[in-house]
Symmetry: C2
Subunit: 655 residues, 2 copies
C-alpha cells in the first residue's frame, strides 16, 4: 500500500445502473446443462454461524491482508514494472505470483457482489487498472516472461506457469462479468483468452501448461461470455495432456504434472495434488460442455479410487511433501500428510462439478468433510495467518511466526501470515468470498440443501414463483437444522436436505410435526409448502470413534474421534503436565463423551523405555507400562494450534 495515494484512480463505470449484482444467480460454475444448478451468490445469504463468520472475517481481514502482503512484497508492482517498461531488474516472487493477484481480484469480485462496499470497489478498480496496464497489445499478460530482461514468452511451459496465471485471470473475470457485467478486467481476460486460443489452438503450438488451471478458466469464461472457442481450447488442452507433451523435470516423474496418462484413460489421481485436481475440474467442464460421457466417467472413476485409497479422514489429499503430491494407494501418513489447503479447495471444485453433473450426494459429503476439516483449518481466527499443509499429526511443536515474516516452509506447525509460495491465502479468500454458492442447488421445483449453514435462500423457480427459506442452525456444533419456508409458489415443491453418510439415526420433522428416521442421503419433504412451514433435520453429532482401513499402515492400531462432520484431535495444550500426545492409549471400548464442540475420551497414559544406546527395535514386545487413567479433551481439528504452538494427533493409538 506504499504508493496507493499517488495512483490516479479512474473508476470503471458500473454496469446495470444501481443494481450492483447483475444477476443474483451468478456463481462460479455455470454449466450449460438444463435441470440441476447451483444457487447463485445472490440467492443465498449466509447469516452468521460457522460459515457466515468465516466469510465475514475473510471480508474484513483476509482480502485486505492479501493485498497488503502482495503490495509490500512487490508482487503487484511487477505489473507496474511491465507497464512502465522497467522490467529486467529484480523481480520479486516466484514465476506464478501474478496468479495470486488474480485470485485476490476474484475474491474481491465475489465479495463486492455480496457487500457492495465502496472502498473495496475502489481498491478493486485500482488494482484492475494496474493489471490492465501491463497487458501487451496482443493480449499477452505476464510479469515474468516476454519483456525486456525476461525470458521469452512460452519458453518454459513446464515451470513458467504462464497459462496457469491466465487461467486464474479468467476465473477472476468470470466472477466479475457474472456479478457486475463486462468491465476492464473482463476485457483484459477476453484479450488474454483470445491470445491463448491463437497461440495454442489446434493449428498452433502443441503445448500445455506445467500446472493445469487454464482449462477451468477457459471453460468457465467461455460459458460466461458465450464463447465456445474458449471451451474448445480447454478441450484441446485436456486432450493434449498425458502424452509426454511436457519435457521432464529432473527428479520428478511425468506423473507430477499428469502428463503420464491421458485424462480419459487414468484410473486414479496421482502426482501433484493441486495440479491433478484443477485438471480434473477442467476435464469435467469439458466433458459436460461437449457431452463427453467417457471423459466424465473417467473423472468419476478417478474420484472413486482416490477417495477410497488416497484420501485422509479430513478429506485432505496429498500424502507427500516431496512433490506436494498423492502417494501410492494406502500411503496416508498422518505426520507427513501434506493435505495442502489449495488441494482441499481444488477437491471441492471437482466434487462440486461432479455433483452438478450427476446429482450424487456423495460429492457433497466429501465437500463438507473437506471444507470443515481442510479449508476451514487453514485461516487463523483473525483471518491473517494460514496453514499451507494440514498434517494429521504434529510431532514437534512449531515456532511462532512473526506477523511480518514470510514463511519459507509449508510445515511449520503454526499458521503463517504469508509464504514464499503463497497460493493458499488467496485461494482461501476467493473460496470463502463465494462459499454460499455451494450451499444449495435447485432442479425444477426441488431445492436441495447441501451444506448446512445458517442462511437465507431465495430462488426464482424456472416454472415461476419463488422459493425462499431461512435456515437456522448452530451446525456443525449442533445437529439441529431448522428450515422455515418464507415464500413458496403454492404448488407442490420439494425440499431436500442432505443427510451425511455418518449420520445414522437422523430424524426429519416435517411441517406436520411428525419426526421420522431418515437414512444417509437425502431427507425430503414434498408438497405444497407455504410460508411458515418448518422442517427440522436432527443430525446425531455426538462424538463417535472412527477406524482406519487396515491397509492404511500409518495409523494401524489407532482410532480417531469425529463429532458430526468435524474431525477432532488431541492437542498437547489439553494434556496434564508431564504427558505427551505419544503417551496416550485410548480405550476403544469406552464411547467418547460430548464436551463443548469436542469430546472427552478415556485413556491410559503409558511410560516409554529410555535407552539411548540401542536401536528402537527390541526382541520382545515393548508394551509400554501403564501409568495413569485420564480423561482427555479433544478439540476440533480445524481449530488446532489456535492456542499457540502444540503437538497434535488426530489418530490415537489404542495399543
Amino acid at each position: 500500500m506504499t504508493d496507493r495515494s499517488t495512483t490516479t484512480a479512474t473508476a470503471v463505470a458500473r454496469p446495470g445502473g444501481t443494481a450492483l449484482l447483475a444477476d443474483p444467480a451468478a456463481r462460479p460454475v455455470q454449466p450449460p446443462t438444463r435441470g440441476r444448478r447451483g444457487l447463485g451468490v445472490g440467492e443465498v445469504r449466509l447469516d452468521g454461524g460457522f460459515w457466515g463468520d468465516l466469510q465475514e472475517t475473510n471480508a474484513r481481514a483476509t482480502i485486505d491482508h492479501c493485498e497488503q502482503w502482495m503490495e509490500r512484497l512487490g508482487w503487484i508492482a511487477s505489473f507496474d514494472a511491465v507497464a512502465h517498461g522497467t522490467t529486467g531488474g529484480h523481480r520479486p516472487g516466484w514465476q506464478f505470483s501474478d496468479s495470486e493477484v488474480y485470485k485476490l481480484l476474484e475474491a474481491m469480485a465475489w465479495e463486492l457482489a455480496r457487500s457492495d462496499e465502496a472502498a473495496l470497489a475502489a481498491r478493486y478498480d485500482r488494482l484492475v487498472e494496474r493489471v490492465a496496464a501491463a497487458q501487451d497489445d496482443d493480449g499477452y499478460l505476464n510479469t515474468c516472461f516476454g519483456h525486456a530482461g525476461q525470458p521469452g514468452r512460452w519458453t518454459d511451459l513446464e515451470r513458467g506457469h504462464e497459462l496457469y496465471c491466465v487461467g486464474h485471470l479468467l476465473q477472476a473475470a468470470v466472477a466479475r462479468v457474472r456479478t457486475a457485467g463486462e468491465d476492464l478486467l473482463v476485457q483484459v481476460a477476453r484479450r488474454a483468452a483470445d491470445l491463448v486460443c491463437r497461440e495454442f489452438g489446434p493449428d498452433g503450438r502443441a503445448g500445455i501448461c506445467g500446472h493445469p488451471e487454464i482449462e477451468v478458466g477457459l471453460a468457465e469464461l467461455g460459458r460466461a461470455l458465450g464463447e465456445p472457442r474458449y471451451t474448445e481450447q480447454a478441450r484441446v488442452f485436456v486432450e493434449r495432456r498425458g502424452h509426454g507433451t511436457l519435457a521432464p523435470i529432473p527428479l520428478l516423474s511425468p506423473a507430477y504434472f499428469q502428463d503420464d496418462v491421458p485424462v480419459r484413460e487414468a484410473d486414479v489421481w496421482r502426482g501433484h495434488a493441486v495440479r491433478a485436481l484443477y485438471l480434473a475440474a477442467g476435464a469435467v467442464d469439458v466433458a459436460v460442455d461437449t457431452g463427453d460421457d467417457e471423459l466424465l466417467g473417467a473423472v468419476v472413476r478417478q474420484w472413486e479410487r482416490t477417495v477410497e485409497r488416497r484420501t485422509y479422514l479430513t478429506g485432505g489429499m496429498g500424502s507427500r511433501h516431496q512433490d506436494e503430491g498423492f502417494g501410492d494407494d494406502w500411503e496416508l501418513p498422518a505426520d507427513r500428510a501434506y493435505c495442502e489447503t489449495c488441494a482441499g479447495i481444488a477437491s471441492a471444485m471437482v466434487s462440486w462439478r461432479l455433483y452438478l453433473a450427476t446429482g450424487d450426494v456423495r460429492y457433497a459429503d466429501l465437500m463438507e468433510r473437506t471444507y470443515l476439516n481442510v479449508v476451514a483449518t487453514s485461516p487463523r481466527a483473525d483471518g491473517r495467518a494460514f496453514f499451507y499443509a494440514n498434517p494429521l499429526q504434529q510431532r514437534v511443536a512449531g515456532q511462532d511466526v512473526a506477523a511480518d515474516a514470510e514463511n519459507p516452509r509449508a510445515e511449520g506447525g503454526v499458521r503463517a501470515p504469508w509464504f514464499d509460495v503463497s497460493c493458499c491465502p488467496t485461494n482461501v479468500a476467493r473460496t470463502l468470498a463465494s462459499w454460499q454458492a455451494y450451499v444449495a442447488s435447485v432442479d425444477g421445483d426441488e431445492l436441495s440443501l447441501l451444506q448446512h449453514a445458517a442462511c437465507d435462500v431465495d430462488v426464482a423457480l424456472d416454472a415461476g414463483g419463488r422459493l425462499a427459506v431461512r435456515v437456522t442452525t448452530e451446525y456443525p456444533a449442533d445437529g439441529v437444522v431448522r428450515v422455515e419456508v418464507l415464500d413458496a409458489p403454492g404448488r407442490e415443491v420439494a425440499l431436500r436436505l442432505r443427510v451425511p453418510s455418518w449420520a445414522h439415526g437422523a430424524t426429519l420433522t416435517g411441517p406436520d410435526g411428525v419426526a421420522r428416521l431418515v437414512a444417509p442421503g437425502w431427507a425430503e419433504v414434498r408438497g405444497a409448502l407455504g410460508a411458515g412451514d418448518v422442517v427440522v433435520l436432527d443430525l446425531p453429532v455426538a462424538p463417535r470413534l472412527t477406524w482406519p482401513d487396515p491397509r492404511i499402515d500409518a495409523v494401524r492400531g489407532c482410532v480417531a474421534v469425529e463429532r458430526g462432520p468435524v474431525v477432532l484431535c488431541l492437542e498437547s495444550v489439553d494434556l496434564p503436565a508431564g504427558v505427551t500426545v505419544d503417551d496416550v492409549r485410548v480405550d476403544p471400548g469406552v464411547a467418547p463423551r460430548p464436551h463443548e464442540d469436542g469430546a472427552v475420551v478415556r485413556a491410559t497414559v503409558v511410560a516409554h523405555r529410555t535407552d539411548r544406546s540401542s536401536l528402537p527395535y527390541p526382541s520382545a514386545p515393548p508394551t509400554p507400562a501403564p501409568r495413569d487413567e485420564v480423561d482427555l479433551v479433544l478439540v476440533p481439528y480445524h481449530r488446532w494450534a489456535e492456542r499457540g504452538p502444540s503437538t497434535m494427533r488426530v489418530f490415537l493409538p489404542t495399543l
Copy 2:
C-alpha cells in the same frame, strides 16, 4: 570409453620397486592416536564368503561399470574440456559429477592395493592424467566452475559442491598415497588442498560448502601427508558451520545442510542425511586430532539419540524423500524410508571413527547392521545395478530398467544401472574395495574381530612378532565363526570376537575345547596362543521376531523377522497366487522357523472390503475377514527384487 584409444598413456612410475602395496597397514582412517587401530587393507584378505564375493564382484564388474557410464555420459570428458579450454558448451551431469570420478579413482586405488591388476593400473593412470590435466596452475580443480563460459569459482557455495568435490579428490589421494606412495593424483590433491587452505583459511573467505565432505578429506590427507594445516582447515570448516553461514535455499531449512546449530551444540542428526553424516565423520577426525573431547562427545550424543529415535531396523538413516533427510524423532515410515545407500556408507564411516576413538562395541554392531542391510542391499548380484533408496516397504512393484537407461528417480523399486544423481554406485565401489579394513582392529597384543567374514588376518604386533589367523565362516547364513591361529608371537595375546547385541545364547569354544556362554559384547580368549589353536564362536542365527518401539507410529501392530544380523522381508514373488503382501497377518505367538537363509512364518490371509464410493474410514472396527492359514517364506532384505520387480514388506502386521 569412446576416445580411450587415442589417449597417450604415460604410466606413472610405481614407487617402492616391486612391492605394489607400500604399506600393508594402509587403511582409509588412520588417526594419530596410539593404541587401538584398524587393520590395513594388506593385513586382512577376504576369502570368499558373503563379503569376499561382494568384493570380487565389485572388482570384476562395478568399477568397470562406473567408468563406462561416466565415460559414456561425458562426466570424465568434462575434465578434458577444461584441459583443452573448450568449456562453455553443454556440460553433462550435475555440478558434483567430478566427485563420482574421484570416488571411482578411490575405488581403483584400493582395488589395486588388493589385486595389482596391470590393466586396472593402466586405466587408473590414464584417468588420473585426464583429471590432472584439468587442474589450474594455482591448484583449482573443478569442471563446472571457474572456466570460460562457467560461473566463477566459489560463487555458489550453497549448491555448487566445489569443496565437496575436492574432499572426494583428497580421499582418493589418501587411498593412493598410503597404498602406493605419492603419485600424480596425490600431487594434484596436495595442490588442491593447499588452494583450499589459502582460500578458506582463518584469514580467507569465511565460507563452507553446502555439502560437507571436504572436512574428512582434509583431515585424512593431513594425516597421510603429515600436513597439520589440512587438519586445521578441517577444524575451521567444522567450527564455521551452524551459524547461518550459508545463504538459505528456497523451501529448505538451514538444517538441510546442518547450518542451523554448531556441531558441538547439536543433540541429534537432522537435515540431509549424507551431509549430516559426512560432517559428523569429519568432526570426529578433528576432535581426535585436536584432543577436543567436547566435540567428540557431541558426536557421540548425536549418534545415541539418532540411533535411538531416527534409525531404521536395517540401520538405514533418512526418513524423508523431500530433502533426503532425517525426520523428526520416531518418524520412520517403512514405505517412504529413504535410507540412501550413501547414508548407510556415511553412517558406517562415523561409527568406525567412533569405534576407533572409544573402543565401544556398539559402533561395530551398527556397522554390521548397516553393511548387511543397507550397503549390501544396493548392488545387484552382478554388480551392475544399484538401489539408491532402500525403503522397508514397496507398495507398487517397480518396472524393469533398461541396461543402458539412466534412472532419473531414486524410488523405482528396482536396482538401476545408473542415476541422474549417481552418488551411490561409486560410493559402493570405494566401500567394497576397502571393506576388509573394517573387519578387525588391533590394540597392543589384542586382536579384535569386528565383522565376521571368511578371511585371513596377518598383523605385525607393536611389541614384535605377528599374529595371523584364518577365519572360516558362512556367516551371516550360518552362525559358526571358526578362527584358527596360523602364527602367534608365543607370549600372551588376546583374541576378541564381537558378539552382536541380538546374540543371546552365543557360545565360545576355546583352544581347550570347552564351550562357554558369552554375552553380547566381546567374547575373548587370552593366553599364549599358538599355531593350530582354534577358537569357535557360535552365534544363534535362528530367525526371531523383532518389535518396533511403540512410538514408531508407522509400524505399530507389526513385527519384523531377523535372522542373525540379517533383516528379512516378505516379497510378493514368494506368495501364493491371489495373495498380496498387504493381505497377510502374522501370528506372533508362533516362532519363525529357519528356511534356507531366510525363515518361514505362520500367517493368516485376510480379505479386505472393497467399496469405491466411500472414504476408507469406517465407523466400526474393520476387522478383515480371515481367509486362509499359510506358511510364508521370508528372504533376506538385502536380496529383495533380485527376482524381478515385486512388492515387499519388512514389517508385517499382526492385526
